[in-house]
Symmetry: C2
Subunit: 215 residues, 2 copies
């Protein structure tokens, strides 16, 4: 069984998937696409994913899986140990909601193609793009901090003592924030959880700066 990951070192959704693969102890081939050179807009990549978005996970039987959260759910169903979601429906809803806050409220507003569209349509310069990026991170991270700090379910990680889906999204987003010099110290619980995750080999090896295409 060989898995092949089509991705980009700095892509936050790619970081999520690398962390999930590492947590599951799965080896994979690493194929890099330089987004700034539009490598993901070329025919060979579009044949894998018509949406032109990384990451894509190619399975050994030639299927191309897209959308990072859908792929991580597939990994969790296909390779159940260790689990990335709690066993109880309530816990699963909580973890998926925390993950969704990042995956649906922060990241989609702040990726490269959105910043490019702001520049194209509104002439947004680097400072305006940074203001936009920071606005959406702050909006959601303030709520995320409240929800994490106020819940008994929060442990060493977002949900208890085992890292899972919410941690994967949190870790990738904090890395993304660093590109715009957003200090995590403003959110002490998030900062504490990120620091704990950053000590784990599975996360450390998933970080953008640890990838072969890192610049």
């Amino acid at each position: 069984m060989t898995l092949r990951l089509h991705n980009y070192f700095r892509s936050s959704t790619s970081t999520r998937l690398r962390a999930a693969l590492n947590l599951k102890g799965l080896d994979y081939d690493y194929v890099a696409y330089a987004l700034r050179d539009d490598a993901h807009r070329q025919p060979d990549f579009l044949a894998r994913n018509p949406a032109g978005l990384v990451p894509v996970l190619e399975t050994s039987d030639g299927h191309h899986l897209t959308q990072s959260l859908a792929i991580i759910e597939w990994l969790d169903e296909t390779y159940p140990a260790p689990p990335l979601l709690p066993a109880d429906a309530g816990g699963r809803a909580r973890v998926r909601a925390l993950a969704g806050m990042i995956a649906c409220e922060v990241h989609p507003l702040n990726n490269l193609r959105v910043l490019r569209q702001l520049e194209r349509q509104f002439g947004a310069d680097a400072a305006a793009q940074a203001q936009w990026f920071t606005h959406w991170v702050t909006e959601t991270f303030d709520a995320l901090e409240t929800m994490l700090a106020g819940a008994a379910e929060t442990g060493r990680y977002c949900h208890g003592a085992m890292p899972g889906l919410a941690d994967i999204c949190l870790y990738a987003q904090v890395w993304n924030n660093r590109r715009f010099d957003i200090e995590t110290a403003r959110w002490p619980t998030i900062a504490r959880i990120f620091a704990a995750l950053d000590q784990l080999d599975a996360f450390r090896r998933a970080a953008p700066d640890a990838q072969p295409d890192a610049t």
Copy 2:
């Protein structure tokens, strides 16, 4: 068991949840929040969801579930029939990916708070907001049409002969598109699936125009 849905008629994520509840045959109390009046930014709502976002599903034991896709997964796990996801991991990955394309690539860029931020930060007027909205719908719907039209798994609905999670997202987004007069005819497979869904009572009753707070 009484479920209580905190939502808004025009909110696309609220439409998703109403369709899921209807497909499961579940009754619920309907509580409306007028987003244009910032009802979701008041203390009583923020106590339910610190992120200040609808929908919230309040369970009979007083839990407040947030993030529409996480809630729909919870519904599917708690009330398994009829299923909103296929039984096989590959099918589940496909349906979750189609849903994710709308939930992570279209809707987050186009909701009210984003259009307001465009106005605030860049002075975007109604025409510029419509251009922005249409850009992101087109970007993803073009890919979605390719993926739906080209797959043997596509049936009367997004995945076979039973409506599920991807259909829920598609239906809600097409309704959302109408606010900006985006014609679905450009995407024949999407248009065909939407028309099939719109004949189902569970979807029709979930539509924005069928809600008590519709204006």
